[in-house]
Amino acid sequence: MFLEILSRYGRVFLCGGIVCLIGQLLINKTKMTSARILVTFLLTGVVLEAVGVFEYIEEFALAGVTIPIIGFGKSLAAGAIEGARLGLFEACTYGMRSVAGGLTAAIVFGFVFALLFRSKSKTA
């Protein structure tokens, strides 16, 4: 039982770490800014899901690939693929439907916390 949990979380740590390490390599080598990094990883997630390999990676890596923004891209693509079985309208809208929770949370919490807090000048 304990060993099982250890291996599970070890895998998550390793895979999540590797994904972020690739991001850092991109930053160091290409001087990409954070928005570009996020877009790149998101599109990677979309592509991985669209070609059908994401679920195999996820089976091994668990949250190690779903917590990085790749997982967000995967949800978008998975929703669209699911919708495509129902019709063209659903093919276009089910992607957003599947990430509605995350987007709503980001916008609402963004709004609430921006009301509550102000950005502060940073010390050196």
């Binding site: 740590f13 929770g101 921006a114």
Partner: protein, 148 residues
Amino acid sequence: MIGEKEYAALVKQASPKTNEAKTLFAAFCVGGVICMIGQAFSDVYAEFVPLDEKSISALVGMTMIFLGALLTGLGVYDKIGYYAGAGSIVPITGFANSIVSPAMEFHSEGIIFGMMARMFGVAGPIIVSGVCSSVAVGVIYYIAGAVA
């Protein structure tokens, strides 16, 4: 005066380099830990929340976004980011950070034209590219399905 190409070479040779090992290690560790926290929420929710698998994974994402937003509000997330680099950009908490930080920054320009209008200054490209690519995938799958 020195030529452009020659000067570019001089700058390149004199510029300090990124400490690769240190930044990569920090990104690896912080990114790994954030994912482990997400996994922990996922395991706990699976045990105690009576929802289907998909909703649970959405809920985990929302929880992480909440945490990212909270740490940004408290002024902690940018300090983590200073050391972790991609380790705190790539996880979904970094997405939350990229929405909350401009909203906070432009609070001083008012709620409508400051906070609400500028909220997507950093995250806008992420949402646009995500939505457009998902529509593209959906349409391709629809056409492929219709043909088959």
